[in-house]
């Protein structure tokens, strides 16, 4: 097997890989360095954007596939990075790659359970698709909550997952995805309102009680 380079998250001590690069450097600095082949710079970008990519994928792909696909997105993006003319476009460019990889994933894997259920479909079926016999009660509730988010219109899924699952702030979501603050605020607010209504009607498949 080829030698592998690991670019760890901040929690795993990335600075040891290349101490000459500051992990707090602006995106533009990191992107330019990565374009010139600096892998540690790309590792910093990974640390900074992995949550965004993860959230975008989780809004579209079953949870157990997402971590692998996050890796795939960054692997797919690296050889293309030199073609990015303006580093300022990196966030939107990377987000677009993530969305496309999710689309490709379903195109190439028809046997996987699609979680992109239309809002008009039976929401309980969507929940059931996520819950397996091995799932604990608390995890079953978590899966049901995720299924509820994914039953919402697409405009609301991504910002809600980035906020509630990945822990990003509205400002971070706007900066990372290229949407305006106003759009993110509206989508979060209306999405949360719809989520409350959905959850108030939903019964936990594990507990039989209200979620």
């Amino acid at each position: 097997m080829a030698t592998l380079y690991e670019f760890a998250s901040p929690h795993a001590g990335l600075s040891a890989v290349n101490p000459s690069l500051d992990s707090t450097a602006p995106d533009a600095t990191l992107v330019r360095a990565a374009q010139k082949g600096d892998r540690s710079a790309y590792g910093h970008l990974y640390s900074r954007y992995a949550r965004m990519v993860h959230g975008i994928l989780l809004a579209r792909v079953a949870p157990h596939h997402v971590e692998d696909l996050v890796q795939d997105v960054f692997l797919h993006a690296l050889p293309k990075l030199p073609s990015l003319r303006d580093p300022a476009y990196f966030p939107g460019w990377l987000a677009a790659i993530a969305r496309n990889r999710a689309t490709d994933f379903y195109r190439n894997a028809k046997t996987d359970v699609s979680l992109d259920q239309d809002a008009s479909e039976d929401k309980s079926a969507s929940s059931a698709a996520l819950v397996t016999p091995q799932t604990s009660h608390s995890s079953a509730e978590a899966h049901a909550a995720l299924a509820a988010i994914r039953s919402l219109p697409e405009a609301y899924r991504e910002p809600l997952i980035l906020r509630l699952v990945e822990g990003m702030t509205g400002l971070e979501i706007a900066q990372r995805t290229g949407l305006t603050h106003g759009s993110v605020r509206v989508n979060l607010s209306r999405g949360m309102q719809m989520l409350r209504e959905t959850l108030s009607q939903k019964v936990s498949p594990a507990t039989g009680g209200e979620l």
Binding site: F7, R107, A155, G167
Partner: protein, 358 residues
């Protein structure tokens, strides 16, 4: 927006926005429950050589999916060769079309209300008469309602770019696809969605109006760009392209002056009078209009516009008067970003990645 809209009660949404303010117990519970799905901070693992595509895929894609991909690729190649001469190179996705009222038509096929939906494919034209309305929807993109007496042609429907042509009539677009994926051509300008909702109208003479209700939209023709944020509108005319955008809640004098200014001859006295009214009536939010006027004026007119703009919205760092009067692109972009109406880098990215020479 009604008074019960959650977006009008920011105190309730501070916690949702950034975890500040009074904690919302339901959101806290969801955060706790959903934490198990959060990115696990595993390290990124790259193969030694970036060109080792097969090794890379083997590391991250289950073998069964790789095998399936090979089969799909082979099948796709056969299909591509078979249809190469008559179809676009990218797979094109059909849209769902349904009747909202009356009996709209796709080509010669009538869409009846009792039918759940019909496919709307690239190359087809959807037509509504005086009594019919229709909705076209694509799950990855959004929904577009087509008003009576309208004609819409689906030009492109690939994974990354959806394009329709509004030849006549009115559409209401609610778009959830990423910015710049959805494009509408009209006889006098091209509208590029930068997120989220707008109404576009085309008249029989090819002129049109764009009104944005959420997010912002770019309007483009031959290098002439207008950006229309929520609450603003912009007119467009054949040959001229998009006019100067303005907020609809501006004073009537201001709006009439902008319209007259766009319509006037560049050397007329009337034009100078209209510009005076625009500058006098402009509020801080009308910096939107003044920013656009910079590139639609020259000489002393541009200096007047800039000076008024600078009093309403102070120039950001790195922007000079001389630079703005010479239409330095970087400074113009920086000033636009300072208006807080949307990040212009999204638009520049679209220009880089394939803006048509419309």
């Amino acid at each position: 927006m009604n008074s019960k809209d959650p977006t009008t009660t920011p105190e309730r949404n501070d916690y949702l926005w950034d975890s500040s303010g009074t904690p919302d117990p339901e959101i806290q519970r969801l955060e706790s429950q959903l934490a198990e799905f959060r990115h696990d901070n595993r390290p990124l693992v790259l193969p030694e050589t970036l060109q080792a595509t097969n090794v890379r895929k083997a590391l991250v894609v289950p073998l069964r999916l790789a095998a399936a991909a090979v089969v799909l690729l082979a099948l796709g190649s056969v299909a591509y060769i078979a249809y190469k001469s008559s179809r676009p190179s990218e797979p094109q996705i059909a849209w769902d079309c349904s009747a909202l009222s009356g009996d709209p038509q796709i080509g010669s096929q009538t869409i009846f209300r009792e039918n759940s939906s019909a496919n709307f494919r690239v190359g087809q034209t959807l037509t509504t008469n005086a009594n019919s309305r229709a909705a076209i929807r694509q799950d990855d993109l959004g929904e577009i309602q087509v008003e009576p007496n309208s004609r819409v042609r689906l030009e492109q429907s690939g994974a990354n770019r959806k394009r329709i042509r509004l030849e006549l009539g009115t559409i209401h677009a609610a778009i959830w696809a990423p910015p710049t994926e959805f494009v509408v051509d009209t006889p006098s300008a091209t509208a590029v969605d930068l997120g989220c909702a707008y109404t576009l109208q085309v008249n029989p003479d090819g002129s049109g109006t764009l009104r944005t209700t959420l997010g912002w939209v770019g309007f483009h023709l031959n290098g002439r760009d207008s950006f229309i944020p929520a609450g603003a509108m912009c007119l467009t005319r054949p040959g001229t392209g998009p006019g100067t955008p303005y907020f609809e809640d501006a004073s009537p004098y201001f709006r009439e002056a902008v319209f007259a200014f766009d319509s006037s001859d560049s050397s007329s006295d009337a034009r100078a009078r209209q510009l005076t009214i625009i500058l006098e009536q402009a509020r801080a939010k009308d910096a939107l209009t003044l920013w656009h006027l910079l590139s639609r004026t020259d000489g002393s007119e541009r200096a007047l516009v800039y000076d008024r703009l600078a009093t309403l919205v102070p120039p950001p760092d790195g922007v000079s008067r001389d630079g703005m009067l010479s239409l330095n692109h970087q400074m113009l972009d920086r000033y636009w970003d300072a208006l807080g109406l949307g990040r212009i880098s999204v638009w520049r990215m679209w220009e880089q990645s394939g803006a048509p020479a419309s």
